[in-house]
Symmetry: C2
Subunit: 354 residues, 2 copies
Amino acid sequence: MVKTNLLEYFSQQQSHYAALGTSAENWLSQLADFIVGGGKRVRPTFVWLGWLAGGGERYPELSDAMTRVAASLEFVQAGALIHDDIIDASDTRRGKPAVHRIFEAAHATQKDAGKVLGDSADYGEASAILLGDIALCWADDMFLTAGLTAPALQRALPYWSAMRTEMLTGQYLDIHGETLPTVDADNARRVNRFKTAAYTIERPLHIGGACAGMSSQMKEILSDYGVNLGVAYQLRDDILGVLGDSSVTGKPSGGDISEGKRTVLLSHALKALKPNRATKLWNLVGKNLDEEELALARELIVESGAIQESEREIAELSQKAASAVAALRNVEGVSPQLGDAFEAMIEKVIRRTF
Amino acid sequence: MVKTNLLEYFSQQQSHYAALGTSAENWLSQLADFIVGGGKRVRPTFVWLGWLAGGGERYPELSDAMTRVAASLEFVQAGALIHDDIIDASDTRRGKPAVHRIFEAAHATQKDAGKVLGDSADYGEASAILLGDIALCWADDMFLTAGLTAPALQRALPYWSAMRTEMLTGQYLDIHGETLPTVDADNARRVNRFKTAAYTIERPLHIGGACAGMSSQMKEILSDYGVNLGVAYQLRDDILGVLGDSSVTGKPSGGDISEGKRTVLLSHALKALKPNRATKLWNLVGKNLDEEELALARELIVESGAIQESEREIAELSQKAASAVAALRNVEGVSPQLGDAFEAMIEKVIRRTF
């Protein structure tokens, strides 16, 4: 459904901007490929759950519009990931070359054939910066023209705006944190709160809920659920980033350590270890590690008790999310099936292995 | 007026996002500085003229909202320039260091003091990519919450969307053109049409006009005026880019030649020169030139007759823009003063020396 909506929107935009010519079309087609080619569609799912929680089934005439609203979040995510991959100098994404690398490679091939000038890496990056910008703008365009009523749109807008600012600022706090010669636990928690929890779960729920005219009580319940589950989502991600099986996660094994990510997990470990062991671990963070060094880093983190500490937090957070679901079930008009769907997402998010 | 609106919007956002903390606040303050610190405010002016042309004075109750709509285009422009400066690896903008250089320098100072880790240039670029994204998102937020009525907003939205896509695609076509081992005149004209004419004049006029509920006849008149004047604006820019006095333009003398810009002016010159002279000119394009080489490039362009050719085109285009003003004056309800204001902008745009 999300994919169909995205494809439809793309072909509509393409015909609208045909005057821009073939080069532009080729460039834009990379965005189409990226957007329909992958992604877990987590945010659209939460928009839809928020819509139902807010009482959306009372407005069946808006349900097509809502599927487009839900799909539009994939454009936000595309813009975020395309720019993030430039920032992190990542080579791959979703099992394919990162977008800036695709443009770089195309340029390099043409250059070898003597057909183009200039630096391939610069061209790749420039093309991807602008394509990420287009993705962010088209997210808006799709959201605003999804077919919501004017009052529904007005209600949803503040959450839409907040989601984007919180995501981008969270991203900035993340790269800012990586420049610090320590792990600032407050900063790490703030990144989890905004970059992950608000962006991935809380605000998508709010957007859906606001479209349906959720009560202020429901808004609080969705926040409660979204923030707790969202932070748990990130803590699980942190554990997978250290101990995850790369054949399942699709990311390099122990990637968070060599990338120097300032996670809450790492902060737990550094705090719990004896000073000489903590220094040993810190000296391995943000470096290119061989297998032996990586094993040592993992051992130190496990030895510190940080994994259990994070698992304990995840359990606590998912308990809080479950309490929010209990509150949700008590709201008039909420079907048992909807409560079950919210509960199932807790399991899915918390138990995931990738 | 524009500045007051921008400052107001900023402090409103700042209080709204206070939970994001001090590091985020410092980062965002660079956007505030950039946006209130300069710019010719060309686009807000055209939004306002479009509003009046569409009959906006019939809705005095919306005039405050319209000043905010007009100001919001400065956020679009901020996002475009911040990203453009990364793409062009520019060191300065508006007489100050480019935004990515400001973050880079701040990081470098801290690094010298042993307070931060990592590569200063990477940090500067990452911070600026995300800040440009914020600018694009806040442009929307400011536009959408300016206080327009729902119908006015619905009317204006298609032009708002078109403006952003045309600008970003025009930027892409521009960098794409610079990779070609020739001057593709069609591509150069398409860049002028979308990156300059649509983005700077036509769409801002349309946005203002649509808010006021312009007639389809008025929409055509504004396109006629905007496209012709907009392309003339760019042709003047191209001449200044070759012959302009750097003490007046604030840009390096002959910058377009050494940057390798694929302008219509250059295309005129290469077409008109004899083959051996054309080759001589082409070999100077996109290189770091000394004074003598730059003088030779200028001489070749002048000798080709390209300057007169472009001046002739500018005169023709401004004549067409003037005809559009004549048509505008004939529309019922358009005051003679408004016709004069449109005419004055032709002079201002065509005769400018910077």
